[in-house]
Amino acid sequence: MLPSFDAFGFLVSWGTFLGIYAILAVSLNLEVGLTGMANFGKVAFYGIGAYLAASLSVYAVLAVYHVAAAPYTTEGIIALGKYGGASPALDLGIFAASLVLGFIIAGCVGYLLTYPTLRVGPAFLGITLLAFGELLRIFLLNYQPLGASKGLSGIPHPFLWIPDPVLRERLYVLVVLGFLAVTLWFAERITNSPFGRVLKAVRDDEVAALCMGKHVPRVKATVLFIGSGMAGVAGVLLAFYMSSVNPNMFVPAVTFNIWAMVILGGMGNNKGAVVGAAIITFVDRILTFITPNLGITIITPDYVRWMIVGILIVLVLMFMPGGLVPEKPIKTPAWEAVESLEKESKEGGSGGDEA
């Protein structure tokens, strides 16, 4: 039926997108699922990470090899093709620097951008971020040093010095999934801690949380720093995988795609966000792999995917309102203390309450 379906190739490609999108979904879940901040501008921080990686790497490679041409000119692109992969140390160094800077810069922008709006109210935050994302995209469309509408290409893959492209991709998917593992670990740890308890309290009733001594604006800004930093890392990983970036990769639809993942997987559950990301990226990858083979040209995969995603969300929410993996109570050592107290009072014979 499908003459040339490369199953392993499919898995590698799916795994990479799954990893990148799951990082985004987990970070959005921290913001909206746990803290109740409707971030409608998620794509902006993803874009910042991607453009940071792209510009840092192309300008660095050209500078190191003393190429005078700009990276978006034909001459520049040819030079990038020539020198990318020439030095493993340079390629890996650029990759590492992009990841660190991508986290910090996207995180700081999130922090700075949202701090003033936090005091105004939750609806403002969502709209401000949505507008910021679009402004950023329009700026990129017109800003020549970053390639304007054509974007930047020739981003050197960190493993470009490995001659076999298949091996390169396989190594890269491991790196991406490694970052996902760290992100998920961190998210789960902070969720199941007194900090996570504060986040849920802020989500439930931020005025009451303020009256209980919690510095609500600082808590929110902290979460936006972390969430935006994670999105920045996802953007860096995307840029090196695609080897090029352009403004139309960062339209608002990307934000809503990440929201769909969180809603499908389960608001307030980090593992659910990963499940949601896995399902939706699977649909995406399958469609991209299959459509060329079917020879259909009237219906674009993009069109079909939004329909499938829509149907999936409606079906899941009808039968499982909390999503596929619903939110769970916070697990801290407090429960161990409670259990041992309950055991003691049972053994002591006096049933539970001391009147």
Binding site: F195, K200, A208, L210, C211, P329, A337
Partner: protein, 253 residues
């Protein structure tokens, strides 16, 4: 009376034309158990709201432990050791009873984002707080509800948990807004007995709004009476209860 820990000077709060508070001056002595009574709408809750930074006063000053605190944010007032409870409980609906109580203690090590991932840094504190929380919950017959969501509780239980989550903090002064409302008579008396004991043994200060005078009057040292946003009367419980102005205000409405 010992020196005041909380002082309110000519405090006023207007909501448009409504003068919810209109120039109230009073003081709460350290280690006092002080009542605040008055008919519905007399401004009692508004006084608490202004003192704890929930509202900015229209006029007047609030002093706590020798420091002026009006204009501070509610979280700053809380961290200074001045804790309030809400008349209508404002518990966090998605948290369990235990988590609601565990949330309030300030400056928890595990609440900082950089220590949160490392359990060993805050595990002991968390367990200690959990033991304290369970002891308080059991004391008021709520031991079996630790795992319950607050939405599963009766109004009386919510009210008790609202008070308990205040008491688990290490604050020096507690402003309790009708802690006995809707609570069974014996439980209410147990609560007030406990409050007296906390004052005697730990030197805490309580300022308590209460409509159930039959409970309150047996436990307080001193009472302020508000009426239409102004101080109508003050004194020892029996003095206030026999004050014709107070009787008039309560019956005359």
């Amino acid at each position: 009376m010992t020196k005041p820990i909380l002082e309110v000077k000519d405090l006023a709060k207007y909501f448009g034309g409504v003068k919810a508070l209109d120039g109230v001056t009073l003081e709460v002595p350290e280690r006092g158990v002080i009542g605040l009574i008055g008919p519905n709408g007399s401004g009692k809750t508004t006084l608490f709201n202004v003192v704890t930074g929930f509202y900015v006063p229209t006029r007047g000053e609030v002093w706590y432990a020798g420091e002026r605190i009006d204009g501070l944010n509610p979280n700053e007032v809380f961290l200074k050791g001045l804790v309030r409870t809400f008349q209508i409980p404002r518990l966090f609906p998605s948290l369990t009873v235990l988590e609601n109580v565990l949330l309030t203690p300030p400056r928890q090590v595990g609440e900082r984002v950089l220590t949160a991932p490392f359990r060993s840094k805050w595990e002991e504190q968390e367990k200690e707080l959990a033991r304290k929380a369970v002891a308080l919950l059991r004391k008021f017959g709520l031991g079996e509800y630790v795992r319950a969501r607050v939405s599963e509780l009766s109004a009386a239980h919510m009210k008790m948990i609202e008070t308990i989550r205040g008491l688990i903090t290490d604050a020096r002064v507690y402003l309790l807004d009708e802690p006995a409302a809707g609570v069974a008579y014996t439980t209410a008396r147990e609560l007030f007995t406990f409050i007296r004991r906390l004052r005697d043994e730990e030197g805490l200060t309580f300022f308590i709004i209460e409509h159930r005078l039959e409970v309150l009057m047996d436990f307080v040292d001193y009472v302020y009476v508000l009426h239409n946003g102004r101080l109508l009367s003050e004194g020892k419980p029996d003095e206030v209860m026999s004050d014709p102005k107070v009787i008039e205000a309560y019956i005359g409405r």
